[in-house]
């Protein structure tokens, strides 16, 4: 089975303290560390496990700048066979539809049985998988937490509100967006990354993909971010301040006072 997994390089939530930049329209990105989007990591692990069972290849792809190559290498160290970096100055500022379009252009050049994305990434829009499927005119299942590979089709599981589980048969090729918890992604150490350090990763620009630069990037974006801020503390909400111990003490007091403890 030929599997393509779309991944994204995002600021690492575990290793960062987020602050707004001085302009107030984005995070202060100077001191951030980046890694692969957590959901994408599960998708790659799932793809590797499928290929281990039934054979085939896993290709990881991302749209981004030169630095995005690092996440492709990390996923290749996990066991993905190939990486593709879609990079062009014209891609900068693309909205979700733009990114899906860029990915779709590359997907059409290959022959993939299965395309996986993470359920969502750092911006929480969760839109790429669905758009990509629509553009490719193939079936789509979102928030997938189980995959059973059959002959010519696959069975995918989705967790439904209230903890119920739904199983669907879906024809190939298709796009699935993968939920965390579907597996336990393997560890990738520095040694693994070094092993794939010299593997060639093709970089493709708009012209290689046959994309009209006016349909992507800021120029082609139909949605634009107009503001970015930390919401004001609303009615009924209270931020506890102090050291961890002090905060805990205050919280316990409050819970006691309201009869919660």
């Amino acid at each position: 089975m030929e599997i393509l997994v779309c991944v994204k390089r995002v600021p690492d939530t575990a290793e960062n303290e987020f602050e707004l930049n001085s302009a107030g329209n984005d995070l202060d990105r100077d001191d951030l560390v980046y890694s692969v989007n957590e959901w994408d990591n599960y998708a790659v692990e799932e793809a590797i496990q499928i290929v281990d069972k039934v054979g085939g290849n896993v290709t990881v792809i991302t749209v981004g700048d030169d630095e995005s190559e690092e996440v492709l290498r990390r996923e290749m160290a996990m066991g993905a066979n190939n990486g593709i970096l879609l990079s062009d100055d014209a891609f900068e500022g693309s909205d979700g539809r733009g990114i899906a379009g860029i990915l779709a252009a590359e997907v059409k050049k290959g022959s993939y049985d299965l395309i996986l994305t993470g359920a969502q990434a750092d911006e929480g829009a969760g839109q790429i998988g669905g758009m990509l499927a629509a553009m490719l005119e193939i079936p789509y299942a979102s928030l997938v937490n189980k995959i059973q590979v059959g002959d010519g089709s696959i069975i995918v599981g989705r967790e439904i509100e209230g903890g119920n589980q739904e199983m669907n048969e879906i024809g190939l090729p298709c796009v699935l967006s993968i939920q965390t918890g579907i597996n336990e992604p393997r560890y990738v150490g520095i040694r693994g990354i070094r092993k794939v350090a010299s593997v060639d990763i093709p970089v493709k620009a708009a012209s290689d993909l046959g994309i009209d630069v006016n349909t992507v990037g800021e120029a082609g974006a139909k949605t634009k971010r107009v503001d970015y801020f930390v919401p004001d503390t609303g009615e009924g909400a209270e931020m506890l301040e102090g050291s961890t111990d002090e905060i805990i003490e205050k919280l316990i007091e409050k819970l006691k006072a309201k009869g919660g403890l």
Partner: protein, 687 residues
């Protein structure tokens, strides 16, 4: 008949020479033994290299003290003393057994030099040796067969009980002792009856007793007994020789080698591959132990040498709290696999991934590397290096629990397991109250004689930062010119190395080493025993490293530091030895001396202290690991302290403090028991 006929001249039924039998038996016995040994050595030849021919002086010393002197045996008094008797008896009687084999083909054979006085003295000693060995065997058999001490039990998941084998071997040894004594006694009784020759025999020895019993036995019975006991001894002897390599009594043969090749340096971890330097690590195809043959030959020899005494697991804190780890079975399972994959005849089987075949991942992650097992093993069997090698293999295969992946990734990106920003590493020093008392130099720019290496937990943990501030105040008071590396400091990597992430450890080590050498300091001080251990035993070419307790002890001795009388004289203090200060680095006395230098401080000792200290739960990455366990190590430790009558547990390690503080809460002892770091206690008492 003028004298008894020896086995070399005796003829069965008057025609068949017994000498033929006593000639053939050793040939078969030794031939079979050689064959078995050759098969047993086969896996060791396929094993990975190990450098065990260095430091010969220390190795000879271990041979004399640990092997010959059996120094570790009396740590378990009854079993230990019994073993010493049996061991000494074996050594003494090995000479007698050798000459007995030759007596079978040459009557009255005496080993060169054993004809005169030496022979007489030897006979006297060996008669007692045989007697004591028999008595020891009987007591041991009663102990194992009837009283069944708990530590020998084999939990169901680890296979069958081993009592049968143990008692069987005690029976074999007893048979050897009795037959040897009967052989001699029958001859002496015969001679006495015939010629009235009175031999001097060791009074109350087995031979002496048998001689008395046989004094009036008919001569034909004595003759028959003489020959019968000879062959019982001969057959048993060679049977035993060939039986040894088949089970836990292999240690009778391998122990001398195992002790000679045992670990001579403490606190360090073996290189990924002996003979491969750090800059060549990238060239290695695979890391660590994945399959049986990835172990080094010494580690395989360890498996062969285990006597199944259960002392390691009896001391193991992971085993005590019900984690799925028992060091004894790490060894026994590997030995069983070696026996299975390298059978005595036929094809050698291909080995599988060990963590899928005989071990589980949780089993290998459960070890805190406290070293209690290694400290105890009378045979010098190692565990820490094996655990690390198995973890290296798992890390290389990507088999790392999610709970450890996060801190490892944070260490890679930020140099600390919490994922906190590098620039906040020295924030503890900016505390208002503290900075008014003490300004800490940042060696990224400023200069000082001494580096205070803070390490991650003390730098970032709100609660533990207090250790950094107290350490600084102590150093200042003692007149030490010191500074910190600030954002240039990375995690020491003590646990990164021990959790098998070798390349990440190498990275951290390289960054720290560069920063330390760049700073130009002449010595390093730390209050974190894990950092102390890494810098001292794992890093190379650094200035000398001291733990804060050593510095304080020295400064008190020179009079540069003075301590006030105890501020809470009603409290009862107990010192808990951190594994990485005590067992791995031998620092037991300095912290105690310092505590005792506080006038009026009441200090008690834990029953398990010094080299038998009980790990409180482990440090570094172990704080992130979520083990399967019934209780916490810290809770057991707190209960031990309560039993000792203590109300304050003083420790000298930030991880011990975290674990013990938590455990006091879990044990429901808040209010009656408290945990205190060494630096806090001392800083409170600075005069």
């Amino acid at each position: 008949m003028t004298s008894i006929i020896g086995p070399a001249s005796f003829k069965f039924f008057g025609i068949f020479p017994a000498a033929i039998l006593s000639f053939i038996l050793p040939i078969i016995g030794i031939g079979l033994f050689t064959y078995i040994m050759a098969r047993r050595i086969a896996p060791l030849i396929r094993a990975n290299p190990d450098n065990r021919f260095d430091q010969i002086g220390k190795r000879v010393k271990n041979l004399v003290v640990v092997w010959l002197g059996q120094i570790r045996q009396p740590r378990y008094m009854l079993a230990g003393v019994l073993h010493i008797f049996i061991f000494a008896g074996f050594l003494i009687l090995s000479i007698r057994s050798t000459s007995l084999v030759i007596i079978g083909v040459s009557d009255g054979f005496v080993l060169p030099g054993f004809g005169g006085l030496l022979g007489a003295i030897y006979n006297f000693i060996k008669d007692y040796a045989a007697t004591f060995v028999l008595i020891a065997c009987i007591i041991a058999a009663v102990r194992r067969g009837i009283y069944k001490p708990k530590r020998y039990a084999v939990p169901e998941k680890y296979g069958k009980d081993h009592t049968g084998e143990a008692v069987f071997v005690l029976g074999i040894i007893s048979t050897l002792m009795i037959s040897e004594s009967l052989f001699e006694a029958s001859q002496i009784a015969f001679d006495l009856q015939h010629a009235g020759q009175e031999h001097f025999l060791a009074p109350l020895s087995l031979v002496w007793i048998f001689k008395g019993m046989l004094a009036s036995a008919p001569q034909n019975i004595l003759q028959g007994l003489h020959i019968f006991s000879y062959f019982v001894h001969d057959i048993t002897f060679f049977f035993f020789l060939c039986f040894l390599p088949l089970g836990k009594h292999f240690h009778v043969i391998t122990s001398v080698f195992n002790v000679f090749f045992m670990r001579v340096k403490k606190g360090n971890i073996k290189p990924v591959m002996h003979g491969i330097t750090e800059d060549k690590l990238d060239d290695l195809e695979s890391f660590g132990v994945k399959k049986l043959e990835d172990f080094t030959w010494k580690h395989m020899l360890d498996f062969y040498s285990c006597a199944d005494c259960g002392r390691c697991s009896d001391q193991c804190p992971a085993n005590a709290v019900g984690r799925p780890l028992s060091p004894r079975f790490i060894t026994i399972k590997a030995r069983d696999l070696m026996f299975k994959n390298y059978p005595l005849s036929g094809e050698i089987y291909k080995s599988k991934l060990l963590v899928e075949d005989i071990y589980t991942e949780d089993e290998i992650w459960s070890c805190t590397t406290c070293g209690a097992c290694e400290e105890e093993c009378p045979l010098g069997i190692e565990y820490i290096d094996k655990m690390v090698d198995l973890r290296r293999g798992m890390v290389d295969e990507g088999l790392v629990p999610q709970s450890l992946q996060k801190p490892l990734k944070a260490l890679e990106k930020r140099g600390n397991p919490y994922g906190k920003m590098e620039k906040k590493r020295a924030e503890w020093a900016t505390d208002k109250e503290f900075s008014a008392l003490c300004q800490v130099k940042d060696l990224d720019g400023e200069k000082a004689d001494t580096l205070y290496f803070v390490d991650s937990i003390t730098s970032y943990d709100d609660n533990i930062q207090e250790i950094a501030r107290r350490t600084s105040l102590i150093l200042k008071k003692a007149g030490v010119d010191f500074g910190i590396l600030g954002k240039l400091e990375k995690d020491s990597g003590n646990e990164v190395l021990r959790f098998g992430e070798e390349m990440l450890y190498q990275d951290l080590k390289a960054q720290n080493t560069e920063a330390i050498l760049e700073s130009g300091v002449k010595q390093i001080v730390t209050a974190d025993p894990h950092a102390y251990n890494a810098l001292k035993n794992d890093y190379n070419n650094l200035p000398p490293v001291k733990h804060i307790s050593q510095v304080v002890a020295e400064k008190i001795a020179t009079g540069e530091l003075d301590l006030k009388p105890c501020q809470n004289p009603d409290k009862v203090y107990v010192y808990h030895d951190p594994c990485y200060l005590g067992r791995h680095n031998g620092i037991y006395e300095e912290p105690r001396k310092v505590l005792d230098a506080i006038d009026g401080l009441t200090r008690v000792e834990l029953e398990k202290s010094r080299d038998r200290s009980f790990c409180c739960g482990g440090g570094g990455l172990m704080l992130f690991y979520e083990p399967e366990e019934e209780t916490r190590m810290g809770v057991l430790r707190v209960n031990m302290a309560a039993e000792a009558g203590a109300t304050v547990i003083v420790t000298a390690c930030p991880f011990c403090l975290v674990n013990i503080q938590d455990a006091i809460k879990v044990a429901g002892k808040e209010g009656e028991m408290e945990a205190l770091d060494f630096t806090e206690l001392i800083e409170q008492h600075l005069a």
